[in-house]
Symmetry: C2
Subunit: 115 residues, 2 copies
């Protein structure tokens, strides 16, 4: 069992690289069905192997989800995870919520018909 802080750190670390953050943005802006790796590669203009590693990082952190469609792999953002992370970060920074209690009132989740 991994503590929340460990998980959040892993996810933030995955986001803590300009290329990966750009990849995420590219994926987020792409179609809901997911963006093919090749399309991301073309857009960011980086070697396929390098991209693949970064995609693996994002995937292992649970920030993106992959689905095969023929020979292409489509990557899409996991908005639930991203939202939970953002919320944790915000709560952590502004309300100083401890790991056990979550005394946050109007959380930003029940809106934005996502996931």
């Amino acid at each position: 069992m991994i503590r929340r802080v460990e998980q959040a750190a892993e996810q933030l670390k995955a986001l803590g690289h300009p290329v990966r953050l750009s990849i995420l943005r590219s994926v987020v802006q792409g179609p809901e069905a997911g963006t093919p790796a090749g399309e991301i590669q073309t857009r960011l203009d980086i070697p396929a192997s390098t991209l693949s590693h970064h995609l693996a990082s994002l995937s292992e952190a649970g920030l993106v989800v992959v689905a095969r469609e023929g020979t292409t792999l489509r990557y899409r953002a996991d908005f639930g995870v991203l939202h939970a992370l953002t919320e944790y970060l915000w709560q952590d920074c502004c309300s100083g919520g401890s790991e056990s209690k979550s005394s946050l009132k109007s959380e930003p989740s029940p809106c934005c018909g996502r996931d």
Copy 2:
């Protein structure tokens, strides 16, 4: 001039370590005037030199601010920077806002009255 994505990546990277994330939480929960490094050290139970390096990372990223008070150094969170980062991240993930246009008001999300 550093692009926003680069800056955000640097800040997220600083947060992408369990110890540093714990440090930030400790600082956030501490007094507004700032928390002495020694107090953080006691609380997290890590060597002073290790702590100092992590504090430097957070400081260089602009997430925390340091102020001397006698022999002790008080670290406090820079909520403005933290909020801006959270906002950028959320916008990046939920609205896929491009780097040029920033159609964000003051909340991390267009719904859920918060702040």
